[in-house]
């Protein structure tokens, strides 16, 4: 492998990792607040792919992008309101099963509405522009994804650290009852979490699919599972952890493929999951929360 191809693969890996990171944040934030693995998150990401196809068929890209983000947020809120909110007081297993059901519902809805055949993902011209730095060439989206990811993550961390709603999110993630005593509306905080998670999933989907050409109802499945592993790797509940996990999985997957082990690239991710759960279940940046009595 020459130095140029090495750099080329690094770029591809970092770019894929950025998209993974954006999706992984959605898993980790919802887990932080609800202690729920939101299995439907992968399918919201897939749906965002379809939304883009339809938006671009009649709108220019710069209007399509905000439209897709808004519609994806609406879908995320609808899932929360229909499948999770009614189960707020139910045992955790029930809400988990509801999440799995919601995931299949969205997949089958997509099959029903859009058929299982792949649909071509529209080209966002400016994102596809080729750049050349020395010997290395890549499309703009490859450069843009990691930069955008880092910018969004920094903004998100500031939001959580410095704003009142961010403070409420941190409080609710630890203690529902005491948060209520402070006057915090729990449902509002949970909705806000879903808004952020869905918006990031929409942005992640645009960046991811722009490099992939097509969307099917199962397009969310693999990236969704990988991003879930990324969130676990980083320490579920931790946003920087999810970002590190996303980049790690994106880069290692790219290099496995580059070295000719593409058959094993998915298996590697899940092997990683097992290894983390055995060796360090709290992940890289996760903390053990002692069960409150």
């Amino acid at each position: 492998m020459t130095f140029t191809t090495f750099i080329q693969h690094c770029l591809t890996g970092i770019s894929l990792g950025g998209a993974y990171a954006l999706i992984a944040i959605g898993y980790t934030m919802v887990y932080g607040i609800l202690l729920l693995i939101n299995f439907a998150h992968a399918d919201i990401f897939m749906m965002a792919g379809y939304f883009m196809i339809f938006a671009m068929s009649s709108l220019p890209w710069f209007i399509s992008i905000p439209v897709v983000i808004i519609v994806t947020i609406a879908l995320g809120l609808a899932v929360e309101g229909a499948a999770y909110r009614p189960l707020r007081m139910a045992p955790r297993m029930s809400i988990m099963i509801s999440a799995i059901g919601m995931s299949y519902l969205l997949q089958n809805l997509a099959i029903y509405l859009f058929s299982a055949l792949p649909r071509a993902y529209p080209t966002i011209e400016p994102l596809k522009q080729n750049f050349k730095i020395g010997e290395v060439s890549a499309s703009l989206v490859t450069f843009l994804t990691p930069v955008l990811t880092i910018v969004l993550v920094v903004l998100l961390m500031q939001l959580i650290k410095r704003t009142k709603i961010g403070m409420a999110m941190r409080a609710v993630s630890r203690d529902y009852d005491t948060s209520k005593l402070m006057g915090i509306k729990i449902n509002r905080v949970i909705r806000f979490t879903f808004i952020i998670g869905s918006a990031l999933a929409a942005i992640g989907s645009i960046l991811y699919f722009t490099d992939r050409m097509s969307v099917t109802p199962f397009s969310g499945l693999m990236p969704g599972l990988k991003c879930f592993v990324a969130a676990v790797l980083g320490g579920i509940g931790s946003i920087p952890g999810a970002v590190i996990g996303g980049f790690f999985i994106g880069i290692s997957e790219t290099f496995l493929i580059a070295f000719g082990y593409s058959t094993f690239s998915d298996a590697f991710t899940f092997l990683l999951l097992i290894v983390i759960l055995v060796i360090r279940p709290t992940g890289l940046l996760g903390e053990t929360i002692t069960e409150k009595v």
């Binding site: 409080a171 009852d177 006057g183």
Partner: protein, 239 residues
């Protein structure tokens, strides 16, 4: 009319009657204490006033208005704060953030700033440690923080659930002195204590609870001198 009036309040926890219909009242400016053994229903009483636990019967009246059945967020907005049992500070927030979140519903930032200063004046230790995360504080400091956080909501009634629990004797004295100080600034106090002796000493009035009922009431000093109370809760027999 009393500031807070509890009428025939009943609470069930899955078939178990935690409160079997209690009546009591708190007048403006008072310190009222509920004493009783573990499981008497003291915490349940405070939780149902604050809206965390729904009553199965009876009514709660506050300031001429029926508040039973409303959400905890609305109860605190009306001016009733609860300092929960076991302090329950947010360990992942800093001391200052814990106080700030106590004033979550306040939209007036200059009022919040003034309240910060009041709480810091009451508990200088919190000011020294305002940037630390609350999880790193000692038990006594966490209790100060929990009380301070309760005050940040500018309550008319501050309810406290076992503020002395698990504290060293010297700190217990401090906490009770502080409760008196807070009361002297015009805040009505409803206090639950296992440390009946200390609670009755500072309380204007007290109620004795036994397994979901109120069995005795009277002024703090009357209850302190009551033979049955002394025997049951103060560990000394009369005389």
């Amino acid at each position: 009319m009393s500031l807070l009036e509890i009428r025939d309040l009943k609470v069930n926890y899955g078939g178990i009657e935690a409160l079997k219909g209690i009546d009591f009242a708190v007048e403006e400016g008072e310190i009222v204490t509920l004493i009783g053994a573990n499981g008497a229903g003291k915490s349940t009483t405070l939780k149902s006033i604050s809206g965390l636990v729904k009553a199965s019967g009876g009514e709660i009246w506050y300031d001429g208005e029926k508040i039973s059945g409303i959400d905890p967020q609305k109860v605190v907005a009306k001016g009733i704060s609860l300092v929960p049992e076991g302090r329950r500070v947010f360990p992942n927030l800093t001391v200052r953030e814990n106080l700030r979140i106590g004033a979550y519903l306040s939209k007036d930032s200059s009022a919040v700033e003034a309240d910060f200063e009041k709480v810091y004046a009451l508990f200088p230790r919190l000011k020294e440690r305002h940037w630390q995360s609350a999880g790193t504080l000692s038990g006594g400091e966490q209790q100060m923080l929990a009380v301070g956080r309760g005050l940040m909501a500018r309550p008319k009634i501050l309810m406290m659930d076992e503020p002395s629990l698990g504290l060293a004797p010297l700190l217990v004295k401090d906490i009770f002195r502080t409760i008196k100080e807070i009361n002297e600034t015009g805040v009505t106090i409803l206090l639950i204590e296992q440390n009946a002796n200390a609670a009755l000493k500072i309380a204007h009035r007290g109620y004795v609870m036994v397994t979901g009922n109120i069995t005795l009431s009277g002024s703090g000093s009357d209850l302190l001198n009551d033979a049955s109370v002394r025997e049951a809760y103060l560990g000394t027999s009369a005389g």
